[in-house]
Amino acid sequence: MTESSLHIKELKAGYGGLGVLRDISLDVRESSVVALIGPNGHGKSTLLKCISGLVKPWSGEITFGGQSLVGLKPHQIVERGVHHIPQGDLIFPEMSVYDNLLMGAYLPEAYSQTPRRLEEVFSLLPTLKERQQQIGSTLSGGERRMLSIGRGLMGGGRLLMIDEPSLGLAPLVIDQIYEVITRLQKEGSTILIVEENASRIVGVAERVYLLDDGKLVWQGTPTELEASEGVLATYLGG
């Protein structure tokens, strides 16, 4: 089965007794880019964590390629082709840049593609090539973020989830990351990103979902979002 669309229906989740996601339903069509926006602390990262199995949903459905992901362990979800690049700079600090990248390709299928993917990642993020023998902990904050993204690209996932691809990166690098997102989508990957910046996703994302207080309060195209002053003013401060 090669179908790679994501469907979420009436998803509820939270931490302890505290509800974070309240009845989330959304679809990401195969080979499309969808963006989640909204205030911080309102559930965007939790939603990604539910999909990758890091947070167990209270109720609701998550299906990818027609199969349910609910109840699977994170590594089983990775095996289904769902790859999650979390927020922050979660790298293996005592391993080299090169070894960190290889960790992104630990599944046999991805490992066999290592030389080609390494070349792609190095051409996208040349800094990582320059620093490939360096130990992870000696990288700067932005370089760690690049490494985390590079490692996520090594797996060749069919659904790639990136939590804030532009966080802490130089403007030029953000452009390059978005070029890759667009290229991967054209090559058939399905991509779900969290992005704070509406202007960044124009021309990239097919659809935007706005999450506020654990609920989807608005959806549309990025252009509609930019044009919709009411939405911008209410949720994103204009």
């Binding site: 911080n40 990166l169 994103l236 401060g237």
Partner: protein, 266 residues
């Protein structure tokens, strides 16, 4: 007699290497009181390392750093803090298992005492200062919440509160708005403007150009540890090297439009 007021901070030929990598290379610049000096540059250019050197967390290999005319390049971090330099860190640098209030109290105590360790009890004056700092940054969440559980904006506000609780003359801010959405960025921008109005001099590292360009009175762009640009924000988009190594086409266009008076978006 010297008619020009001496700079608040004066870095002369500062250098720092990690093994074979020169992170900061023969860097010289000054900041006068009341300025906002923005620092930009590609990831790994040495920006945060520069803050390490100024705040004394990592000593410079070469060069001199003068704060109010005093040499500080070999001073320990707590002395530098007591002289009036505070820093807001790039990553989450709070005491995760302590409450919000306790975090700021420790900062206020560290900033005022002559010793390095926080006391077992906090004086009323320290409590008042912590309260003032939390109020100043507009922290609205519960004071007793354990910091680990705070969303990113509140953590950032808390880190700023901790820094200003030491009553700095110079505040080093390392990516204060990374990961915030536009509304939250505006909120922090207002806060920084109030700090400036309160007489705090600021050094600012940020990749969010809207923030960096609107707040800075002067900009330095670093690349491979060296200064490749120094000037007013309006001239940044005209510099070809900066465009090539840092900004890229898209942002250069936006900045050029901004210099001609349009609003800027990231």
């Amino acid at each position: 007699m010297d008619q020009v007021p001496s700079p608040l901070l004066d870095c002369r030929g500062v250098q720092k290497s990690f093994g074979a990598m020169v992170a900061v290379k023969d860097l010289s610049f000054t900041i006068s009181k009341g300025e906002v000096l923005g620092i930009g540059g590609p990831n790994g250019a040495g920006k945060t390392t520069l803050f390490e050197l100024i705040s004394g967390l990592s000593p410079a290999d070469k060069g001199e750093i003068l704060f109010e005319g005093r040499r500080i390049e070999s001073a320990p971090a707590h002395s530098i803090c007591h002289l009036g330099i505070a820093r807001v860190f790039q990553s989450n640098a709070a005491f995760d298992s302590l409450s919000a209030q306790h975090n700021v109290l420790i900062a206020a105590a560290y900033g005022s005492s002559s010793g390095r360790l926080p006391p077992l009890t906090f004086d009323p004056s320290i409590r008042r200062r912590a309260e003032w700092a939390l109020d100043f940054v507009g922290y609205k969440k519960s004071l007793s919440v354990v910091v680990r559980n705070l969303p990113v904006l509140d953590r950032k506000l808390l880190m700023i509160a901790s820094a200003i609780a030491t009553e700095p003359k110079l505040l080093l801010m390392d990516e204060p708005v990374g990961g915030l959405n536009p509304e939250e960025i505006d909120q922090v921008m207002e806060l920084v403007k109030r700090l400036i109005a309160n007489g705090v001099t600021i050094m600012l590292i940020e990749h969010v150009m809207r923030f960096l360009v609107q707040l800075s009175t002067r900009l330095i762009i670093m690349h491979h540890g060296e200064k490749i640009f120094e000037g007013v924000p309006q001239s940044l988009a005209r510099d070809d090297t900066v465009k090539r190594v840092y900004l890229g086409e898209r942002m250069s266009k936006r900045l050029a439009a901004y210099s001609q008076g349009s609003a800027i978006q990231q």
